[in-house]
Symmetry: C2
Subunit: 322 residues, 2 copies
């Protein structure tokens, strides 16, 4: 493994000049540059990244913290890796499994200068703790983080939920049930608000028994369907927290011989591969755009210049379940 020093010696120039060639400085004569480049190629030389990082004080790496990896997160990740890559940054992934110790390790890596910045997808640490690492580098979050120092790229679900509701209402469905996620989350609150506003706009009653909470998984969806069947006034449609839930409801409906969408319309959320496969109508969550924005939020600190945020919007993927 040849080093910059060796290249300098072989070429007869100083390390400084070799370094200038490496970094594309204009203060090198074309002649010199050429000679040095030739020797580099001949010696199969590449700079040692640790040395560069130590010297420059930057690693060109961004850490991404997530509790687990699922399809939606994957999309986000892909988008982010791509955006960061375009600007010369690599992404390193910290999967924590919800272990706060592992999360802390990732945060420490910002302090220890292994990464130049941090992107938090999902985490269990308190916003306060996370924010206390802001002094070591930029940190942005996907989910809303409820702290002035940690910007977020999450979108208000109100718009997306309204989109789905308008779709159902326009098709004549009026008795619409909701399978919400975490009751206390801002997302659930926005969705509920959207629901109540839409129903009010159409002068339709809001039935509290059509609110399901803490519904996350396929199994949860299956339970919801069975519960729906037992209701005296059975809903004609159900709006789900995510596509997994919708998939669970759909497959259980099939098992129970309930026609979809004749007897029950189903709308998912996120537009994952699963929804596509199973033909589920769903709200398309522009995660790739959010990922791009996540990088743009980091840009000022990382690139020294701001990048304008992309405007994003939900849209609807209409399939066979409505």
């Amino acid at each position: 493994m040849s080093t910059l020093d060796q290249i300098a010696k072989l070429s007869g120039f100083s390390k400084a000049t070799v370094s200038r060639v490496l970094n594309g400085s204009r203060h090198v004569s074309p002649d010199t540059r050429e000679k040095i480049l030739a020797i580099m190629k001949e010696q199969d030389y590449v700079p040692n990244r640790n040395a560069v990082s130590l010297s420059k004080g930057r690693t060109q790496q961004i850490g991404m913290i997530t509790m687990n990896l699922n399809e939606l997160i994957l999309h986000f990740m892909n988008g982010f890796v791509e955006s960061a890559g375009r600007h010369g940054f690599q992404t390193i992934i910290y999967t924590t499994g919800g272990d706060s110790q592992k999360e802390l390790q990732a945060l420490e890596d910002l302090k220890r200068k292994r990464v130049d910045g941090l992107l938090i997808l999902t985490s269990v640490s308190s916003p306060g703790l996370i924010a206390s690492y802001r002094k070591y580098g930029p940190i942005v979050s996907w989910q809303r983080m409820d702290h002035p120092d940690i910007p977020s790229v999450a979108m208000n679900q109100f718009e997306g939920y309204t989109l789905a509701l308008e779709h159902l209402l326009s098709r004549g469905y009026t008795r619409i049930a909701n399978a919400f996620g975490r009751p206390s989350s801002i997302n659930t609150q926005s969705r509920r608000e959207a629901y109540e506003q839409a129903m009010a706009a159409y002068s339709l009653p809001v039935d509290e028994q059509w609110y399901y909470s803490s519904i996350y998984s396929i199994a949860d969806g299956e339970r919801v369907l069975r519960s729906l069947l037992e209701q005296q006034e059975r809903p004609e449609a159900v709006l789900c927290a995510n596509d997994l839930v919708a998939a669970g409801i759909l497959s259980e409906a099939r098992r129970q011989g309930l026609g979809v969408p004749e007897n029950l319309a189903i709308v998912g959320f996120d537009d994952t591969e699963l929804a596509k496969t199973m033909g589920i109508t769903t709200v398309r969550n522009p995660v790739a755009g959010q990922a791009e924005n996540a990088f743009r939020l980091l840009a000022p600190a990382l690139l020294g210049k701001a990048l304008a945020l992309q405007p994003l919007a939900f849209s609807l993927a209409i399939r066979e379940t409505t």
Copy 2:
């Protein structure tokens, strides 16, 4: 940000001693250790990883190269991240999108000492090119790499395919079609071999028209089903290259009103979430175990000691399609 040098000055000891404390050397008096640790804590000191990496010549990072991310790869990834983590290694992901330039960049990162080793999941580069980087660090592959210097953790599909066949045969299915993937791949060859041996063992005929090739996706699966329906002697069961194909066949069968498994039994491969959701019988591919083994193959070079490989086996997840 305090440095080791500052800790040394504050404690009155030398940098060497502070470093010894950091690295848990036994040649430090308990008293000294305590004092130094106290000052470190007080100063909120953590070592700079770039400096450590440069000095030690190792980064404790492993690069993972993949063209794209899907569910199966995700499982593998998770398993590997977990295994590597247990031994103090972080994983950094290179998603190449099949771009050989990006792949090269990942390989170069081994040379540039950004990573200590490389794990290849899927790649387009020639085994020869990849192997030429072996001199910079250990490299292992998931898929079979056809080069003596690049070990692989892929499993022979013969056993898994045989498992599925035995299952079908024991349930009385005799006319069994195959949806194979890439015709030239070793996997396909093993599967075909398994098929022919199993049929021979049961004295059943092998019908060439029940061989489908280059079947990968959901859409491919849908096409296969339509084609199956047109055959004069329609098969009673179909064995698929992966769960996506099985899902495609299943959903198209439903659309066509073909009863599953009464009129057609379906078996997938890999046991992904999709198979679970749709209730598809499938062969469980122990990817997490393979990931663990991938790390164990890197271990000699990384840890300086060998770790025994885990014995792995396919198993069957029997669901509603058989």
